[in-house]
Symmetry: C2
Subunit: 348 residues, 2 copies
């Protein structure tokens, strides 16, 4: 391991560096990396120490996987879809348009999806475990109301990866606006809409509440992310060289973190949603014809990529087959329970 | 710790016995206890060993909490609502009629619900962590169709705890039929309906498929269990005397198990549901007026218990306030995402 240069590192048999792709401002995600490291330290009595670094301290956020593969750092916490440019298959373990909800994603990962992810990551010298989820994301803030799929034509929307490709098919223009410039770009009209995460993180893009002033229409659902899975990723050779109890510590701490990060989003989102609405955000459901057009466009994008990329095709086909079975069951008890509870709540 | 009498126990600094309340036939639940113990062993390099015992080997399933409190065993895996007879407040951490779904339950536990649970358990010399969930349960198998709330009058239904009290208010007669006698009792008409778990466990009540022959109407949702949380419970004095890294191992392994058990149910339920339907089970939604009558009756039961039991009242009120906020958010992105996916699936 890399020496951390700290006195308390002396107790450690192994000290690793973990670079997060998430800025500290995404505190539930970044906090998940700290929680993961804290648990590994605690369950090993301090013998396995992991130091967590924000993006930029060692490598940029999007450079995390390369740094892990090269052994510059031993570990990172990231969204695998950030590496969509290397291979579109990297999008799939994080989320894909009209994919699965967070619970279904976890079930899929542990029923075989993670093995496929790690077969892909092995080519990059890495191995991963699930370590969090944001839950279903929001559709983001729009300057104008969207009354049908046609209203997307020409709109500049901050979105990337598979979602960006689908939006492009619908006539929108995907943009990559840095977080700090979002409000100004929306105000100036150089950006028409921004997709971000969900209420908790969305409410923190601009603490002053200007975001929902310049782009008041707050759309749902975020059909490109029914859930968004986070992973911790390790250099595979260094992982494999660990003694068994340290390997077990990584896996167990990752899955424990996985449960806790989603729980922290679930607990934080309701209050943030209220705050946004009080601050002027107007909740709007995406029109049904837009969802249907996006579903159809997603299928076209999947076919285009699958035709050129057998691994993407095999990973996607397996995920879609699992999804079909999941919703067969979900529509029975889970969905009807939630349906009744939502209606009772509305009646007060 | 108690010596386990096995040669490999020699490597252990601490050996504990964990008694499960679940028979091995509920293999995803019982397997959760084994998974928990395996993880504690693995992350401590074998220094903390936990031996798992099925109900009856040391104490009966429903004697698990008493055995832990008395120190007969150090640990158990159980549903806290099994101790409803000691205090109705024990029902709340597991599930309550029209409570929360599995994800909301986890969010609530980690946002404060677990602290309230452990304040209750401290009076019984115990401390607990979440260690699994079955997801939303089914309403069970009925011999005859239920067309309205009135059809419950006089029906003998296998159900207990809070659900049993609510069903009683609706005119039904709760029964405690042992698993092995369910099919015969339904066949003889000494039982009219049986609530059990969800498709995976329900399909295993009678592997020969007789259950859905004698009671073919398979109802949903299981409004008394939007999720059903499992806990691992430890003798508090023995827990508190552990060194810090072993305490951390218990907590981290429990939360890792929590994620994995729910994932295993989610993965297993769709196939089991198909098998039940192919075998003759006819899916039926509970009529809306029954759900509304049950919701109203639940409120009456809650008021009766709360009037006599301040702890039940404070635990329930906090859970209900959290539930209201959860569904405020859930109805937005989570629910509309699932709604669209379910409708798309039905269209093929």
């Amino acid at each position: 391991g890399v020496a951390a240069g700290s006195a308390s590192a002396d107790a450690a048999e192994v000290t690793w560096r973990l670079t997060s792709s998430f800025p500290k401002s995404l505190d539930l995600l970044y906090g998940g990396a700290e929680l993961f490291a804290r648990q590994v330290g605690a369950i090993t009595g301090g013998r396995f120490r992991i130091d967590v670094f924000p993006p930029g301290d060692i490598v940029p956020g999007l450079g995390a996987l390369d740094a892990v593969g090269a052994g510059t750092v031993e570990a990172c916490q990231t969204e695998l879809d950030y590496y969509y440019g290397k291979d579109p298959a990297f999008a799939l373990p994080t989320a894909f348009p009209f994919g699965m909800n967070a619970r279904e994603q976890t079930a899929y990962a542990l029923a075989g999806g993670l093995d496929a992810t790690n077969a892909l990551l092995a080519d990059y010298g890495a191995i991963a475990y699930p370590a969090g989820n944001t839950g279903a994301q929001m559709g983001g803030f729009f300057r104008r109301e969207i009354r049908s799929a046609g209203d997307l034509a020409g709109l500049k929307i901050r979105a990337g990866g598979l979602a960006g490709r689908v939006l492009q098919k619908l006539g929108a223009v995907p943009a990559q606006t840095p977080r700090g410039e979002i409000v100004a770009a929306l105000g100036a009209g150089t950006l028409d809409a921004v997709t971000w995460v969900g209420p908790y993180d969305d409410a923190r893009i601009d603490e002053g509440g200007k975001l929902q002033k310049v782009a008041p229409y707050y759309y749902y659902p975020g059909w490109w992310r029914g859930g968004s899975m986070v992973h911790v990723v390790f250099n595979k050779a260094k992982h494999d060289a660990l003694k068994e109890e340290f390997k077990a510590a990584l896996r167990t701490a990752a899955l424990s973190t996985h449960a806790q990060v989603l729980a922290s989003y679930d607990a934080a989102n309701p209050g943030a949603l209220k705050k946004l609405v009080i601050g002027g955000a107007e909740l709007r459901a995406f029109p049904q014809d837009l969802l249907e057009a996006a579903y159809k466009a997603s299928g076209e994008v999947y076919k285009e990529i699958s035709d050129a990329n057998p691994r993407f095709k095999s990973m996607l086909d397996a995920a879609i087959a699992f999804r079909a079975d999941q919703y067969l069951w979900w529509q029975v008890s889970e969905y009807t329970f939630d349906n009744f509870m939502i209606r009772q709540r509305a009646r007060g």
